[in-house]
Assembly symmetry: C2
Homo-oligomer: 121 residues x 2
Amino acid sequence: MEFRNIDRVPMEPVPMEGAKGTTMAMMVGREDGAPNFSLRHVRVEGGGHTPRHSHDYEHEVVVLEGAGTVLLEGDEHPIRPGDVLLVPPGEEHQFKASAEGLRFLCLVPVSRNCGEPTPGS
Amino acid sequence: MEFRNIDRVPMEPVPMEGAKGTTMAMMVGREDGAPNFSLRHVRVEGGGHTPRHSHDYEHEVVVLEGAGTVLLEGDEHPIRPGDVLLVPPGEEHQFKASAEGLRFLCLVPVSRNCGEPTPGS
């Protein structure tokens, strides 16, 4: 694959219900031949948020820039650049941006349920 | 799991033959219950390098800071912050730091060969 720089791959709106001011770019995914996991770049504008939801696959997240909170284990926790977290399968979660916005990496497995493609991988 | 910040998790020397000036911290791994992939933070000091090697599992890499090169497909390519790359299974690779050093995320699957733990996951 070509090298991609996170600042050069255009971000697309996340069309999911419950998302506000959220855009995403696939950096490495199934279509690139990623064997096991996909790496996405997510931006949430000031006051925006990702959907509040849960699913049967995990996220691993690395906060790159900005500030906000993550809902996890029923509580909202502040997050800041450099924070790394595992959102386990089945755990309800939501990322909210403070006024300055939030930018993070969000990884998912490429498949679930013995081979079914993971949405957004 | 607790939230971990990349600047607060101590880095340990990488004891592999062929590594020079390379330290690593596990940010999310098998021991944290990561179901599919492990997220490691790697630092290579100025003039240092990772081992030149290949293995039967992939890397996904995100350059965080500094400058250097990656050997991939037989050539050395310059890398810079924000670059994201997939090192496919079986591909020989090596990261080298320029004088200022290099810092990156390096992800691996937690298992290979139908369940055998991946080294360093």
